[in-house]
Symmetry: C3
Subunit: 263 residues, 3 copies
Amino acid sequence: MNFETLIATRAPRLLRLKISRPHHGNSINATLIRELSQALDGAERSEECRTVVLEGEPGLVCTGMDFQELAARPEADPGETAGIAGYMKLLKRFTLSPKIIVCHVEGKVIAGGMGLVAASDLVLSTSRAEFALSEALWGLLPCCVLPFLIRRIGFQKAYAMTLTTRSISAQEALAIHLVDELTQNLDESLRKLTLRLNLLEHETISDLKRYFHKLWTINPEMEKLAVQEITRLASQPRVRQNIANYAIDGAFPWERRDAVAQK
Amino acid sequence: MNFETLIATRAPRLLRLKISRPHHGNSINATLIRELSQALDGAERSEECRTVVLEGEPGLVCTGMDFQELAARPEADPGETAGIAGYMKLLKRFTLSPKIIVCHVEGKVIAGGMGLVAASDLVLSTSRAEFALSEALWGLLPCCVLPFLIRRIGFQKAYAMTLTTRSISAQEALAIHLVDELTQNLDESLRKLTLRLNLLEHETISDLKRYFHKLWTINPEMEKLAVQEITRLASQPRVRQNIANYAIDGAFPWERRDAVAQK
Amino acid sequence: MNFETLIATRAPRLLRLKISRPHHGNSINATLIRELSQALDGAERSEECRTVVLEGEPGLVCTGMDFQELAARPEADPGETAGIAGYMKLLKRFTLSPKIIVCHVEGKVIAGGMGLVAASDLVLSTSRAEFALSEALWGLLPCCVLPFLIRRIGFQKAYAMTLTTRSISAQEALAIHLVDELTQNLDESLRKLTLRLNLLEHETISDLKRYFHKLWTINPEMEKLAVQEITRLASQPRVRQNIANYAIDGAFPWERRDAVAQK
């Protein structure tokens, strides 16, 4: 498999997918979503493959939506809603795929990147990991991330992360179950984990993920609501301006507001 | 704003509300509920105000219902249900108000006081904080508190606190997410927190609280159930007697029961 | 009360039930389910009894289903579904009984044994406790355990325990609220706890358990789904073979698979 935004490596019973858009802050664009989905197609066609490991660049796992691409789009672009719906579909697919999705975190995860973490079956991280939901600073909300994040870390922690936009350390993330295992040696931890996971039969993984899905449904109404709400927020002129300004000169919304207020 | 049960202080983008009924153990009566609601009206009318800080007396944040007032009431007083419904409405309003409600805890929080904490957006506390649900000792239950408390700390911790009536320390409260931040310097922590919160635009706070409300609905049926159940419990002769005895001579229900058993 | 699988001891306001099938790894069979239910009948008839303590052998609290008995059964035995439904009913009864069910853990709890822990009102353990959901190794799932376990420890921790089949220590179990109190002296902790619990009136315990049930319903559809799914899994020839092999010579499923693969 040859990708533009991913580096894929095979090992016995394992597929490793490294998000690689270093010149775009490892942000999420339409190509990344499509290629992640294609890579999953491949893994699911293989009877032999048990686990898909998702990782980023050292130091930077994944930021959210690609603001440069977003700012370049015409207003009310129908492709935008399609892109968001594709992202939501990908997160849901993580939770239903008959492959075990293990997220490997060794750096920053921001905004939309948090969805990939929250929807993964298991999350391993080093102490270098750092997590933040920065959306509210831009007048946005992590609409698609939250159903999966609340399921993983509970209502209050997801709420506090969204409202304060404060980043949390790997240690804090472990305490609130955002991270399942904190390790100093990701490869060794992954080796031990996959040894255990490989004891399970293929059918059992499918059965397990299907049954858990019934116990905590993220239902179609909620998915639709998430896509609608983020589309609504992102199309507001105020928010579009925030994003456009940042794409041009890296200025944060409050810096502009403060500058205006001081005039 | 001039209140009987509250001391209100304004600061830039901030309204501080200190519950002040020191001669009644900072307990909750109808006046306090009405005045908290009026203070919120004022905050919500101000475009400039971002955050409302709710606090108590040093050492004693808030106990539950005012038992003296309750004991003085005629049986089956329709005002009682109205009072409880008003309390439930206030808690729900905390979660929906376009202002950020920060609870400041530097002392004991007991029974109904726990509702004010649980329904707040964020909770800061010092190590002096102490939390307990004592209702079951009186034959009551924290009916209105629980929907908000379960949302915040999960089912089991809310269950164990209700059943054992044991008080928990600030450190334990942090571990179960009843407290969001434990600090030795509340003013400094509040300053840092509001600096962050002030980066958010007014509309974003509204959008955020509205969206989260849809992800974890405390629905009208549950609110009605809560008010009905606490009204039913509080009107039982056994429970009324427990409260009346305590109002007269400070005797706890089990002390009376033991005395009767020993005769 | 005289039981085959339980040792029952009375103390003031207390009934202690010790699971005692030492020659069958303290596993769960139809007799144990019936006798636990009968013991609860007795406790519920007594106005004086407040608390039922459930415990196991030192070192081994409870493993899951008795595989020897299961392997000896004819295929598609209707008694099997009845047995599972009885187990599910017993767990639900723990959460609704007007007696307080305290689980005492001083050893291993595996698979179906986890349901008894998860459905208990309160769980006390020593550092000797160890918890695991091993079902997936056999091609099974902890279908009946999960609704109660998710309620107690949240979705992600229940998910990770099921998927990794890894056992967790008493300290970890405390951190995720599977254990309510970790103690070095179970008898002393139990004494202090029951002193507090005995302050509650009989009616209050009933009211409390009924009200909490309404706040987090494990509804009949979910109960039915759980029984159907575990029945379906357990009747698959592949899974029956796994269990039969283990019953004969203690071989784990993956050992057989590896042996076949090496031929």
